[in-house]
């Protein structure tokens, strides 16, 4: 789909609850047909931002445009929303439940039934169609909840921590489904604080911290703007060198190797030379891209 089209546009949006400012002066663009990662630590304002996009709360100031229009309740039917706080009617059968969620989005008729079967097959739960949801395991319920958000074939899908509580096999299955939806031209806003997941499926990201936007852009741009200033090192000895703050700004030791973030002004050549000079036995010395996790932690812990 056209990648320059904007599905969601926020312009100077602020929202506070009494004394507490949840979102301040936030502007961002979610481009059509892409996966947009809304990232940030707990309490950064992700959920409040999403709630304003789906018209659950109104911003105190600023404008929100959806599909180029100001939000109203008729646009709600084009959105699928899977909140972090989610559940199912305990005593309702799975099919009745899905039918209800489809109808509440104004979807009617025979297509509802075929969509129910199609989606249950897709998440590999067709035999649970007539079971009550309280009989389902937590992971199965998660998958049913996911269907409630997508059954009416929304153009914009908003997922808030969609994979929490799923085992690795199911995370993989759901990730594939999300990427399929993207390939089908849907726009997806993906909110999480699990950076490894975001790194794998997001095209664009926006990092929020303490109600403010820290940065926004495509994942590629962000990674390259951070530069290749990260080194994976495996060596014996040379501890004094790795602890030198003029060379290394951050050191993370894993089981048998260390992740080194170079200090400003230092370069990898100097670090390698110093290590050799100190007599360390080097098993591995590799320039690596910073992980989203590193970027996230660096940015969030940076003094404002």
């Amino acid at each position: 789909m056209a990648t320059n089209e904007t599905t969601v546009k926020l312009d100077g949006v602020s929202k506070s609850f009494g004394e507490f400012t949840a979102v301040s002066e936030l502007s961002l663009d979610v481009r059509a047909g892409r996966v947009f990662g809304l990232l940030g630590p707990n309490g950064a304002g992700k959920t409040t931002t999403i709630r304003m996009i789906v018209n659950i709360t109104a911003p105190d100031s600023g404008a929100i445009l959806l599909f180029g229009r100001h939000i109203d309740s008729s646009l709600q039917d084009r959105i699928g929303y899977l909140p972090e706080e989610r559940g199912l009617y305990k005593k309702m059968r799975v099919a009745d439940q899905l039918r209800f969620f489809a109808e509440i989005k104004n979807m009617r008729g025979k297509q509802v039934e075929s969509k129910i079967d199609e989606w249950l097959a897709r998440v590999k739960l067709p035999e649970w169609k007539n079971k009550r949801s309280m009989e389902l395991s937590k992971g199965m319920q998660q998958k049913i909840q996911f269907i409630t958000a997508v059954i009416h074939d929304p153009d914009l899908l908003i997922l808030d921590e969609p994979f929490s509580g799923l085992d690795p096999v199911n995370v993989e299955l759901m990730k594939e489904i999300v990427l399929d939806l993207k390939r089908a031209g849907k726009t997806i806003i993906f909110s999480t604080h699990q950076m490894e997941v975001a790194e794998k499926i997001c095209d664009d990201i926006c990092l929020l911290n303490r109600s403010r936007k820290v940065f926004e852009g495509s994942l590629r741009e962000i990674k390259s703007s951070f530069g290749r200033n990260s080194v994976a090192v495996r060596c014996e000895g040379g501890n004094g060198v790795l602890d030198d703050p003029t060379l290394v700004s951050k050191l993370v030791r894993h089981a048998d190797e260390a992740q080194v973030l170079l200090a400003a002004g230092a370069d990898a050549q100097t670090l390698l030379k110093r290590l050799i000079d100190s007599g360390a036995a080097i098993g591995k010395f590799e320039m690596v891209e910073p992980s989203l996790n590193d970027i996230f932690i660096t940015k969030v812990t940076e003094p404002a």
Binding site: I56, S73, Q76, R86, L88, D96
Partner: protein
């Protein structure tokens, strides 16, 4: 509107299909009829009649007493009592106490001897008690009842009242009042309550009206007691299951809450209709049974318009209180919390029910006017006014308008509290917080 109907449909179908609903629909009438039947069965357990001897020293009272006691027992045959051999009589319907009376001559022996004999017979269980009427009984009005069980107040009362009537009769006979005059004197009067300006056909109208208003009020009370909690639970359901946020991305909180309220209310009406039909058939059967025995039961003469008012004010009363339950539900996070907060609702309901009496005494007073305009007391108060002195139509319409507008306002307030409460992640609202939430939401 479509979404509203979707919510109503889900609420209604899920609940009407539930086992609880089916069980309670069947069980409640059974329990109710047990409440009526068990006392009737217990009261119909036969106890043998009380054997009482009468020592009539005045010499003129015995036959009157026997007649008075047998009048109590209607057709109770007491012809054989003189033989001293008590025999079972036909079951008396009205009196708890039954008697077999016998006369003991007061002239054959001295009183002490008679007492001794009777005491002897009581010890031998041939007799349960005896009455001694002294010679000056008719003037002094004092008698003595010796018995084994002074705690049996029912028998004592029945006996006292019978002797009382007997004495009155005998005193009138002594005063030379003839039988016909005596009957005329005690003929009961009949007071007919007739509406001013009403034609003859309107007589006894307001009596039947009262009964129906009372019935409507009672069913309303019952419906609120039973369904108020269900409304509360239904409102909390989306919070407890954490579905609220998903739904609010599709429907407005007001639509959701209205849909739930209407869904539960349709359920209430379904159940009441089932019971009403069952009761109606039962009553028809009963009327038919009575008719076959020659008793004529008439259907109360009430104008058709009044039935429409009964329906409207019943709905108003139900919805006013149901919405308060919804309001409570919007503020709390669990049904238990809600149950406690709901207690004052019952209190208001009971108070409004007691207004029945002052309003029926002066249906046109300013007091009656105002309580029939206040939504919480209007349903009962206005219905009482309608069946007594029907107020002008504008007052009835105004009362309904105020009432149903209040329902909408309460639901609107509740939906705002509900939404903010949900955004705060299930925090329970204190009253001042709730007020602030309504303003800021």
């Amino acid at each position: 509107m479509k979404k509203f109907l979707t919510v109503v449909k889900r609420e209604y179908i899920q609940r009407v299909r539930a086992k609880m609903f089916i069980v309670s629909t069947i069980l409640l009438p059974v329990v109710m009829s047990l409440f009526l039947l068990v006392p009737a069965i217990i009261l119909s357990i036969e106890t043998p009649p009380m054997r009482v001897a009468v020592v009539d020293q005045s010499g003129r009272m015995y036959s009157q007493i026997r007649q008075a006691l047998s009048n109590d027992q209607q057709e109770t045959a007491a012809q054989d009592v003189n033989s001293g051999a008590p025999r079972t009589t036909t079951t008396p319907r009205r009196s708890f106490a039954r008697f077999n009376v016998e006369e003991v001559s007061a002239t054959d022996q001295p009183l002490d001897q008679i007492r001794a004999n009777l005491d002897q017979r009581m010890r031998a269980r041939e007799l349960d008690g005896y009455v001694i009427l002294p010679p000056d009984f008719l003037s002094e009005g004092k008698a003595e009842f010796v018995n084994r069980n002074p705690g049996d107040v029912f028998s004592l009362q029945a006996l006292q009242s019978a002797i009382n009537r007997a004495a009155r009769e005998q005193r009138l006979i002594d005063a030379k009042v003839d039988t016909k005059t005596r009957q005329e004197l005690f003929k009961p009067i009949e007071l007919q309550s007739v509406k001013t300006g009403g034609a003859g056909s309107q007589q006894a109208n307001s009596n039947a009206g009262f009964a129906v208003v009372f019935g409507v009020g009672f069913v309303m009370y019952l419906a609120i007691l039973m369904y108020g909690q269900i409304v509360l639970g239904a409102i909390i359901e989306e919070k407890e299951t954490r579905i609220a946020e998903i739904l609010f991305s599709s429907v407005k909180p007001f639509t959701l809450m209205m849909g739930k309220l209407v869904g539960v209310s349709l359920l209430a009406l379904t159940q009441l209709a089932i019971w009403g039909t069952a009761f109606g058939l039962f009553a028809l059967y009963g009327v038919g049974l009575l008719a076959s025995e020659g008793v004529r039961a008439s259907i109360p003469n009430i104008p058709f318009l009044h039935f429409i008012y009964f329906g409207l004010f019943f709905l108003l009363g139900y919805f006013i209180y149901a919405t308060i339950y919804a309001l409570v539900g919007s503020m709390v996070t669990t049904a238990q919390e809600g149950g406690q907060l709901a207690m004052p609702i019952i209190l208001i309901l009971v108070v409004s029910f007691y207004l029945f009496w002052p309003v029926s005494r002066s249906p046109d007073s300013p007091f009656s006017f105002w309580v029939s305009m206040i939504p919480f007391s209007a349903p009962v108060a206005m219905l009482v006014r309608i069946v007594t002195q029907t107020p002008p139509f504008w007052q009835i319409a105004l009362s309904l308008l105020i009432g149903f507008s209040t329902v909408f306002v309460i639901m609107w307030v509740a939906s705002r509290i509900y939404r903010v409460g949900m955004l705060m992640y299930g925090k329970r609202a204190s009253i001042p917080e709730a007020i602030r939430w309504v303003r800021q939401a």
